[in-house]
Symmetry: C2
Subunit: 299 residues, 2 copies
């Protein structure tokens, strides 16, 4: 690490399981980075300030510094609740909530999440990634898909987030592959392109088949020696196929931007290309930082 | 408990998590019953005989006695593998496998499970419940639905099991309600009939909506204060609706017999009645015993 330039502000992505912070330079680049496992789920209200200070202490000076944070830190059970903004709304916002702190060297602003009344839906964190994507692609009109534990599909038009839906495919993949009867048949890594493509097209064209095809992963291994890597790709394909069937009003005939971790955007890009769509792909960490910079600029 | 009549044979239902045994009298009734948590999943091969003896020791005499067992005890990772029989096949069978024992007072016969090559599927335990049901309803032609962790739908005709499919709805309900993000919004007991009916008809008519409706359970609680009991009924309705959509070729226009625990058969009976079907209902323990008696009669 190079000799530390003192940051002009601090960006924080504070999710359910992790806290990541960046010491931001004057030019929009970051000069240092740190992270810990102090996610929202493991902290009581009084634990947030110490958890943050542990990571940023050596960046602080006598001058107060602003911290801009997004994610589950703003949930009701987080540091302080940052009430949801209702869609449709602009991606940019200045409605940040100041968290209570005792250390005078920091002032912490927490980004609000988004809500949709009907169909009921919520997000916290992804709205900042979308804001970052829109900051870098101001003329984008189409759909942002943010694959993850809870994948979000969001309709973006004229700088606004119009509507969105959440799918639990990532969490279902983890639960079924790691904790259900299928765990005996599924590898924790490895892949099979043909099995993924076949499973994807099965549930995309016949979404009702998902319920029957899940246990078939177990039976096919028992009876026909299906490999655990093939089984893993099949489970992923079945779940993403069912998700694409449900999200069809979002992606059919649309511009798509995928924002996520590389292994996830690659899987979703494959799935979309099989439907004749070539999505734009953006890195989730870069979009998070771009979004936090956009929030900083609004303060 | 009345003074113990020494049993003429012993019936055993030995599943993944439990072992249940019955001391059977000469007339077809049982004279005593015992159970333990020594399910197949917690036992190494050498543990099965001691686990059985712990429950039945006080029933034994100098005279060797036959034990008829069904369930996961016959799986590859069980006491001894009882190879699957392939459907279509008769419900009755004499193809039981004798388990290796060192105690000369017992002779243990293990029932084979059933397999279906395409679509790949397997069952162990339910085939004996079906055999019991057919023994008591020899002219039944239709569908047996056995709700549970892994619900089975089986086509029965002329005393044969023709085909079957397995659905993981029960395991999905337990994983989603107990271990996913939905656990924060779902009660462990309680019910809401209207929510169940509404959710059931949603995924039955639009099975692709399951993927989007799951997270909506969480969002509806956060935004609209949905009660945890309503959420629980909704999750059950969504999963069973998706199952009914996939199992439609099985139940549409058919005689249905539900074989299961009372709280499960009641839920499935409600779901089927909403489709205009009045199922016959049979108690799973009675059917298991009737099936083990039918197997004993074949020896």
């Amino acid at each position: 690490m190079r000799a530390l330039e003192k940051p002009s502000w601090i960006a924080a992505d504070w999710g359910t399981s992790n806290l990541r912070v960046w010491a931001m330079g004057a030019t929009g680049d970051y000069v240092d980075h740190a992270e810990s496992n102090d996610g929202m789920a493991s902290l009581a209200p009084g634990d947030f300030e110490p958890a943050l200070l542990r990571l940023i202490e050596h960046w602080l000076t006598d001058q107060p510094i602003e911290v801009i944070a997004c994610g589950m830190v703003g949930a009701r059970q987080g540091w302080v609740e940052a009430p949801y903004r209702a869609v449709p709304c602009t991606a940019k916002t200045s409605d940040l909530i100041v968290a209570p702190t005792s250390d005078k060297r920091i002032k912490v602003h927490i980004a609000p999440g988004l809500m949709q009344s009907d169909p009921a839906d919520v997000m916290r964190g992804e709205e900042t990634q979308i804001a970052g994507f829109i900051a870098q692609n101001p003329d984008f009109d189409g759909i942002a898909c943010l694959p993850g534990t809870h994948t979000k599909w969001a309709h973006i038009s004229a700088g606004e987030i119009v509507s969105f839906r959440t799918f639990m495919s990532g969490e279902l993949f983890a639960l079924l592959g790691g904790q259900s009867v299928l765990k005996h048949s599924i590898a924790s890594t490895g892949w099979d392109d043909d099995a993924f493509d076949d499973a994807l097209s099965t549930t995309l064209s016949k979404p009702e088949s998902l319920a029957a095809k899940l246990f078939a992963i177990r039976a096919t291994q028992l009876l026909h020696d299906q490999s655990p890597e093939t089984a893993r790709a099949r489970l992923s394909g079945l779940l993403i196929g069912a998700e694409l069937a449900a999200a069809k009003p979002y992606w059919l005939g649309q511009n798509i931007a995928l924002i996520g971790a590389p292994h996830l955007t690659q899987t979703y890009a494959t799935a979309l290309r099989l439907q004749g769509i070539t999505p734009q792909v953006a890195d989730v960490t870069q979009m998070t930082l771009a979004g936090l910079i956009a929030l900083k600029d609004q303060l």
